[in-house]
């Protein structure tokens, strides 16, 4: 019953999204919701490795940018193929990067892993800065195709695309969370040595975790060049991506798949509102303060607060 409800909501959200493109005219709504969903995907991706498995990743920006630059590379190499191809290729490329990075760094514990991911991101950035084919340090312009099939404008197509990616990310994350893999990942998070000695295939599970994380980050990054039409290493590899990817699950709650969804909706909405109404610098400050506030005061995030609240209420009724 619960499963049916989940799939029903997923289908309903997708259909409402498509209907939205038919009704709404103001392009701002699409730009704003696109940004919120991009944020949500990054949070979901980070949470698979950070929340489920307990490995902190500071290199989200690297994977995100690798997805964006896959699109740029395909655009340059094959004379602007449809975006859909890039969206399918980018997760594979980034998943492979994730697998490689995982293979080399997952033997490192905790802190060392976190620093190694940061190192990987900077090395990727240095390579892109020196790679003239994809624009180098100067960046790369993409022209948005003028004709779009079915939709009124290109941003509507991007909106539907990122909506689909978001829903797929949620489905993947929920599957990993509730399946046997998720139980294994949780065991690694709680006590890796104990899990290993009980016969949990820890290395294999961790590699699955990094690969899926990389793939989803790449999927979030793939439409990005078309969204802003100009990519440069400094913006694609921005530290902000890493901060956001951490902030979303931390605010929502890291233990379950629903956490980053809630966190993404909340943080994304706050961000868009503040950026439009006040200023983008203040918006960054708010993100940082909210992140640190949640980490120190409510380490279980909103879902944790909700569970505490329900527990207390049940106790009160008894």
């Amino acid at each position: 019953m619960k499963l049916n409800k989940f799939w029903f909501i997923i289908a309903a959200v997708f259909l409402i999204g498509i209907a939205f493109t038919m009704v709404a005219d103001n392009e701002f709504y699409f730009y704003a919701t696109y940004a919120v969903m991009q944020l949500m995907i990054m949070g979901i991706a980070w949470n698979i490795l950070g929340g489920f498995t307990g490995y902190v990743n500071f290199g989200s920006g690297g994977f995100f940018a690798a997805g964006a630059y896959t699109t740029v590379f395909l655009h340059r190499a094959f004379d602007a193929p449809p975006l859909l191809i890039a969206v399918l290729v980018a997760p594979m490329v980034c998943g492979l990067i994730g697998l490689g990075v995982g293979y080399f760094t997952l033997r490192l514990k905790g802190v060392y892993f976190a620093i190694a991911t940061l190192a990987v991101a900077i090395i990727l950035e240095t390579i892109v800065v020196n790679w003239e084919f994809v624009g180098g340090a100067g960046g790369y312009y993409l022209l948005i195709p003028e004709n779009v099939v079915f939709f009124d404008s290109y941003i509507e197509w991007l909106f539907v695309l990122i909506l689909a990616i978001t829903l797929i990310a949620i489905i993947v994350s929920r599957y990993l969370n509730s399946s046997k893999i998720g139980q294994g990942l949780a065991a690694i998070r709680d006590d890796e040595l104990a899990a290993e000695s009980m016969g949990v295939p820890t290395l294999k599970l961790k590699l699955i975790s990094t690969t899926v994380m990389g793939g989803l980050m790449g999927a979030a990054g793939a439409p990005f060049p078309y969204f802003i039409t100009f990519v440069e290493p400094a913006s694609a590899f921005n530290l902000l991506v890493a901060v956001m990817a951490i902030a979303v699950p931390m605010i929502g709650g890291t233990a379950s798949w629903i956490g980053p969804v809630i966190g993404g909706l909340l943080l994304g909405t706050i961000q868009e509102t503040v950026t439009v109404n006040i200023s983008s610098e203040l918006n960054l400050l708010i993100v940082g303060v909210v992140l640190v506030g949640f980490i120190s005061l409510a380490p279980q995030g909103i879902t944790g607060l909700y569970q505490d609240f329900m527990r207390k209420r049940r106790k009160g009724n008894d």
């Binding site: 940061l118 190192a119 090395i123 960054l284 940082g288």
Partner: protein
Amino acid sequence: MIELFINAVVAGVLLGGFYAAVALGLSIVFGRLDIVNIAHPAFVIIGSYMAFYVNENFGLDPIVTSFLFLPVFFLLGIGMYRFYYICFERTGQESLSGLAYFFGIMFIIEVLIILVYGVDYRNVQAPYIGYSLWINDWIPLGGFRVSLPYRMLVPFAVAAVVTGGVYLYLSKTYLGRAILAVSQDRVALQLMGANPIKVKQWAFGIAIATAAIAGALLIVIHPVEPSVGRLYIGRVFAIVILGGMGSISGTFFAALMIGIAETLISTFIGPSWAPAAAYGILLVTLAVRPQGLFGRA
């Protein structure tokens, strides 16, 4: 070619000395106390902007300023540790939450500086900036011309003195040895009647205080903008890990190595490849010899 090589190595040594000053605080905090203060470079940038502010308004030398501000940074460090202890260490959540916490602090510092000073590069005025010491004027080097810019030489000298001071402090004084003790066996220290929290707090204060000096040296070496600190995260962690986690002399020599590697790469391959040098060395170290070059196995 040889002249270029010699100059690159000399510049690398000077740069490395400065890197040691930046890594010093992290070597204490990360190497000895196991606190992953990823925000350390951000505190260094605060030090730079403080030196800039005083230099701009009162014309005081940036390095002298940093020494005057040491107590402020020391107290800031103590406050940071108190908060960290209450929120994370006491509840045993330092691994995931603690990491994310310092990451968030780093971000907040950066945004606050942007809000106050904007994203422009800032620099300072000092009598020694802009001149060089030519070694070949003093010692005949067989026709080679080797220069030591004072802009690099002064920071190197200050960094060397500060590193030496911290080394002596940690190995000779009572409190310094207590810091070593807390890194080796916390419970034993407690059984001896000492309070590990107080010791750690003291150590954290010293570590952040060194960031004030490192920040002043940074703005003497090159102009600073708020996000420059990010470039130093990988460098300083590479240096601390390479130097064998908490060994002050190891940190100093690892810093010289990274400095020389970077100047060699930027001289012979290209400056845009230099940032990857430290990270590459770091990754190789983590994969091959995680205890570092100078660490105990």
